[in-house]
């Protein structure tokens, strides 16, 4: 039995570009031998759950996706080489703390990472987009990174840093400009406007990251301060704590899962070579302990072991080549394009993912598959209803339009003719002279 782990492809010298996928790969590399699983480079549109990482178990045809669900699925599955080092020996306290810190990582480290790699236009254009282009087959880089960026921006929206996205900012300014012109107020000629504009002075020369530097550092510090309480490198710490029992500052111990997750987020903050490296600088300057942990952990897990990660071979592996065929890639591309149609596209994608999920659940032969009670609003008829409604409405509108235009004469009769009355007598004296002739 070989498990298939579908993840985003490698980037920045790390096995995956996405934090959650990277955490899962790190976890697998430490708990499973390479013979028991296969890493498949993929993208969300290729898996039924539309979410990576996704674990496929071929013997029961079951899909599991997300870091937490995969880890707990793995501990129930117990593959032959699986060894989970610290389940029973740990005190309950460690498990509780790990839960809390894991929640913290996903809810506050993820938005920070999103700001650095996705929201900031400069970093996105220079680093992130090329990295995605390198790992996706041809037409997909046109659609998928955009979707990822949009969802990342939504995750970081509550931090109020959308001005880092200079593309969106420029668009907004241009729109305001157009509106002002349309409103027809007093206009300053373009030549004069330059002198009044914002691009002069020290402030105009600063990049958005520099302007927001203090706020950004504050945001980063909030997260890193809390993470700094964790005792990540416990091997070395062990010896010192033996002697220094009296030290009041007690550091928090966490489980392997939490370490993997923390490593994934911190590594993606530290390793990418971005043009606006504020997050990296904060991390390097003030949190040397965290940096040390990331570098050490990477060395220990991926570089020193000498065992390469079991990536699936594109040519030979049937599972991968099927998903990567030109036809399926085109299908994924078309679906992404359809999704961009306003209102109806969203409904359609919803319907599609519901259908895929149902198919995946039905094909699965897992015995302990729980009976899932469907939430409200998750019926597959939604799209049908919306489609029927829209078609009826369109037919009505068009029909009414034709009817009123053609038969009700709202715009007058369809054909209009004018006759100029010939009144020669109105031509004055000459007219009077010729009046008799007519």
């Amino acid at each position: 039995m070989t498990l298939e782990l579908h993840v985003w492809g490698p980037a920045f010298g790390l096995p995956s570009i996405d934090a959650e996928c990277l955490a899962t790969v790190t976890y697998f590399a430490q708990t499973l031998s390479a013979a028991d699983y296969l890493l498949v480079q993929s993208s969300p549109s290729a898996v039924p759950s539309h979410h990576l990482p996704a674990l496929y178990n071929p013997s029961t045809a079951t899909w599991t996706s997300g870091f937490d669900p995969i880890v707990s699925y793995l501990s129930t599955l117990q593959p032959p080489s699986y060894h989970h080092p610290d389940v029973t020996t740990l005190p309950a306290r460690v498990n509780a703390d790990s839960q809390a810190y894991q929640a913290l990582l996903t809810s506050s480290a993820a938005p920070l990472l999103a700001l650095s790699l996705y929201v900031s236009s400069a970093n996105y254009a220079e680093t992130t987009r090329p990295a995605y282009s390198a790992i996706l087959p041809f037409p997909l880089p046109w659609t998928e990174p955009l979707a990822v960026r949009a969802s990342m921006a939504a995750r970081a929206a509550h931090l109020g840093m959308s001005s880092l996205d200079t593309d969106a900012e420029m668009e907004r300014l241009e729109k305001e400009e157009r509106e002002r012109e349309a409103a027809g107020w007093v206009q300053v000629p373009k030549a004069l406007r330059k002198a009044l504009g914002q691009n002069t002075g020290v402030k105009g020369q600063l990049s958005p990251e520099m302007k927001r530097r203090i706020k950004l550092e504050g945001l980063a510090a909030e997260v890193f301060d809390v993470l700094g309480e964790i005792d990540f490198l416990e091997e070395e710490e062990e010896e010192t704590t033996e002697g220094e029992e009296g030290e009041g500052r007690q550091r928090i111990k966490v489980t392997l899962e939490t370490k993997c997750l923390a490593f994934a987020y911190l590594a993606l903050m530290l390793f990418p070579d971005v043009p606006r490296p504020w997050l990296k600088e904060v991390l390097q300057r003030k949190y040397a302990g965290l940096c040390e942990f990331v570098v050490e952990y990477r060395k220990k897990t991926f570089l020193e072991t000498g065992r390469p990660l079991p990536w699936a071979d594109k040519e030979t592996d049937p599972a991968v080549s099927a998903a990567d065929s030109a036809l399926s890639v085109m299908g994924r591309f078309v679906r992404a394009v359809v999704d961009d149609i306003p209102t109806l596209g969203r409904e359609w994608t919803r319907w599609w993912s519901l259908r895929q999920r149902r198919v995946a659940e039905e094909t699965s032969t897992e015995s302990q598959q729980l009976v899932v009670r469907r939430s409200v609003g998750e019926s597959e008829n939604g799209l049908l209803l919306a489609g029927v409604g829209l078609t009826l409405m369109a037919v009505n509108v068009v029909g009414l339009g034709i009817y009123s235009y053609r038969y009700r004469g709202l715009l007058g009769a369809p054909l209009q003719t004018w006759h100029k009355p010939l009144v020669v007598s109105s031509l004055g004296a000459a007219g009077a002279m010729f009046a008799g002739l007519v």
């Binding site: 707990s72 810190y101 919803r350 609003g377």
Partner: protein, 329 residues
Amino acid sequence: MATAAPVASPPRKWIHIPRPLQKLFDTFPLLAYDGNALPARAQSATFGDLPTLYVFSTEEAALLGAPSFNPSCLKWQTFLKLAGVKFQILPSTNHASPTGALPFILPKRSSPTDAPSPIPSSKFHEYALKFGTSSPPEVPALRLDAYQTLLDVPIRNAWLQALYRDPEYTDLLDRLYISPASSSFWVRGALRHQLRRAAESEILKTGPGGTASTALTLLVDEQAVYRAAVNALEALATLLSESNTGWFFGAETPTLFDASVFAYTHLMIKYMSDGKSERQGEEGSIFAERRLGNIVRRAGSGELGGHHRRLFELLWPVDSSTVFLTDKA
């Protein structure tokens, strides 16, 4: 062609009103009504010697000062009571709030024409310390932030999932949020749909079950949401079991964190549990059962249930109605 001479033109004016408009205004004369008087309730309800806390509640429950049915309202209601602030409660909606979100406080008026400025919930902590009789202790633990996220993400997601998206609680949702807002069938339907979509996007924003969501994820993985909530409640129960005072982080008296936990556990126990929780736990998987109240009671070795009971008895003593009436008099 000769033009028809104007017949009996009206007396000349500087401005000519076009005929059709003139006719229209003759038919419907412009009439400005006087401003409406304030509802009678507004005067009597807010003009007292107590500040008013606006929360999601019902008329009767508000009169008794009973717990609100909205988690964030209940959190602050609990905290203000813990701090010993005296206040009265009025039921309200988001539209009434200056910040767009409940709860908020309107300080007491000194005269009927006085318009005090409302206090949003972000300033409640200072307000409670200023006007309260006892100040709840501050917890120094840095771990507080981490545990607070457990409440803000997995437990909140599970509450949203259960209340808004679970067909079993449609009646409850209608009773709490939909019916008070409107009596029209169509408006209710639209409102329900809006609330559900909003809850769904909230859950998806923090990721299914509190894990980062990448892209194109449009469906909530219910199982993951409930599993994350179960783990979070277990973690809270473990944390509580380490404290020997019965309150979180070993505080002498309940703190803001206790109030935040209570806000969720109280609502889950009150609305989402059935009587036979203890017995059923053994047979089925914990995830198969979606009753959050039972999950709360069962977490750890029942610490959260005990915590809820202690805090409830402390703040809302047994025969709450009589106590509150005498309190007000």
